[in-house]
Each structure stands twice: as C-alpha cells, then as structure tokens.
C-alpha cells in the first residue's frame, strides 16, 4: 500500500470503474432510472460525477476539462475512459503533493481561495456521495451492484486476505 491519500484515490478510481462496469450492462431505459432524494438519473449522475472530477483536476493546473454536463450523456463507455484518466491523474497529484503544503486554488470564479488539500477532500467526498446515489437507485429498482466498499477493494488488490493455513 501507499500513503493513505494515494490509496484513497486508488479506491476512488476502482470504485468508479466497478460501478461503471455495472452500469455498462444496463439498458438505456435503466440508465434513466432515479430514486427519491438522489441527484437525478443514473446517466446524469455519472456524467456530473466525472465532469466534476475533471473540474477538480483543473484546479491543480495543467489540465483542461473535456467533459461537461451541458453537453449531455456521452454513454457509459466514454465515461469509463474519462474515469480511468481522471482516476490516474488524481493518483499522480496525490503522489506529487502528499506530504506537505500543496499550495492554494482559486474557487468561485476567482473570488475565494482555499488550500489544495480541500480540493482533494472534496473530490473524494463528491465521488463517494454520487456513487452512493447511484447505488441507492440501483437498490431501489432491485438491480445488484456487488460489493464496492473498501473491504472489497482491499480484497481486489490483495490488502485484505485470509491468512495461510497453519
């Protein structure tokens, strides 16, 4: 394992791709499902979640967002490519800035500023929040989505396992 910040973004990438793989098997009609109290449809939530990831990355500099909610849903396969790319970039930024003062970012049309640590934390929170919305919709409609908590991630990457027989 790496430092916690880096591992948290590895989990974020893994969970996004897991859920996108689940959603890749849905029909177009199912992608338009929603549930009370969530963000919107599955398609809209996935698009917003990954477009937001790109806007967070933009705040670290040297990256231009390609995905925008107002352009509509580009399809799960396209979103999966974006998720893999933004996931890799977050891991790289976390590795670059892990230990120490990462500097500041401008927010709200340049009217405010915040430590870059806040961008990392918001990115983790935002992904988690919207994945939960999608899981709520899937659960509401009786569609299984498998284990996708950090224990499942730990098993997938070998950080959580049964000890060898004595």
């Amino acid at each position: 394992m790496g430092p916690v910040l880096i591992e948290a973004f590895r989990y974020n990438r893994w969970a996004n791709l897991h859920l996108l793989d689940v959603c890749a098997k849905l029909t177009d009609e199912q992608l338009r499902l929603t549930s009370p109290g969530t963000f919107g449809t599955i398609a809209a939530t996935l698009t917003h979640m990954l477009a937001a990831e790109q806007r967070y990355l933009w705040r670290f500099g040297g990256y231009e967002p390609e995905l925008k909610e107002q352009d509509g849903f580009p399809g799960v396969a396209s979103l999966r490519e974006h998720a893999a790319g933004s996931g890799d970039r977050f891991i790289a930024e976390a590795a670059r800035l892990n230990d120490g003062n990462a500097g500041e970012a401008k927010l709200r049309e340049g009217e405010t500023r915040a430590p870059l640590a806040m961008i990392f934390v918001q990115a983790l929170h935002h992904g988690n929040d919207h994945r939960t919305h999608i899981c709520t919709i899937l659960g509401h409609h009786g569609i299984p989505y498998g284990d996708m908590d950090v224990w499942a991630y730990g098993e997938a990457v070998g950080a959580y396992q049964a000890p060898p027989e004595a």
Binding site: V4, A8, P36, L97, A114, T136, G139
Partner: protein, 166 residues
C-alpha cells in the same frame, strides 16, 4: 508538515456533527423515516454509522467499542457525543497509523489479515456513504439539511477565504 489527508478526517467529523445537529431537530417519528434503496431508518443508519466507526477505531487504536446496533437506539444526543469522540480519535489515527501495518481480524467467523490503510479509508467511505443515505431520506421527505460538502466545511472553518482577505 501535516499530511494532507488529515483534512479528510476533520471534514468527516464536521459533517457527522452537522448532520446530527440537523437530525436532533427532528420529531421522534421522523427518525423512523426511510427512503427506497437506502440502509434503513434515520435512527438505524446513525446507530450503525457510529457503531461501525468504533469498530474501525478498535482495529486502528485498540479503543473500546461502546455503541452496538444490537442494543436499543440510545438517542441522537448520546450518538453525537460518541461521534465527536470518534471523530477526534480518527484524526489521531490518521496521524499515527502506518498504512502498511497488517492486523489479524475476525469477520463473519473467519480470520483475515488486513492493512490498517484499508481500515482507515473504509472509515471515511462508510461515513460518507451513510450520511448520503440520510440526506437522501431527508430530501425524499422535503426536510432541508443545509450545505455539507467540503466547500461548506471550508467556509465554516475559515479555510476558504476571499481573495485579498487574510
């Protein structure tokens, strides 16, 4: 220099206490509300969230587990006290633990080995996941819960400041 991920645990504590304050204003019957696809009732979700945090902390720091979902719901005032203490201990754990340290743990009768880094990231994920469930329930029943993303945390703690401000 403080590692960046400590801020994630400060946010975690703030978000739990913010949402508990919202729920403390609910009538007893509103604590039994739920929404499709979520974990259960508001009361049941809080009981589970705070109990699970103590089980994570027992693995991370060896602290005592005082809240258990199998016991009767202790009320939100009691859970808020536990959440405040859990939050402080998670911040302490985030500073102290070595992610690559391995512990043996029992889950569903089986002994497993897991890295402490997985436990602490699961604590973050789990809290976020169940807070989102509670927000979905509140939203479904038209009960407002205020802004509680990381930008709101930044505003509340003074981490986000006007450009040109101190």
């Amino acid at each position: 220099m403080e590692p960046l991920w400590i801020e994630a645990f400060r946010y975690h504590k703030w978000a739990n206490l913010h949402l508990l304050d919202v729920c403390l204003k609910l009538a007893p019957e509103q604590l039994h509300l739920t929404a499709p696809g979520t974990y259960g009732t508001i009361a049941g979700t809080w009981h589970h969230l705070v109990g699970a945090e103590q089980r994570y902390l027992a693995r991370l720091l060896g602290s005592e587990v005082l809240v258990n979902e199998r016991d009767a719901f202790p009320g939100l005032e009691v859970l808020k006290d536990h959440a405040a203490r859990n939050g402080d201990l998670l911040i302490e754990a985030a500073v102290r633990i070595t992610p690559d340290d391995v512990i043996e743990t029992k889950f569903e009768g089986e002994t497993s080995q897991l890295h402490l880094g997985i436990v602490i990231i699961q604590a973050l994920h789990h809290g976020n996941d169940h807070r989102t469930h509670i927000c979905s329930i509140l939203g479904h029943h038209q009960i407002s819960y205020g802004d509680m993303d990381v930008w709101a945390y930044g505003d509340a703690t003074g981490a986000i400041v006007p450009i040109g401000g101190s």
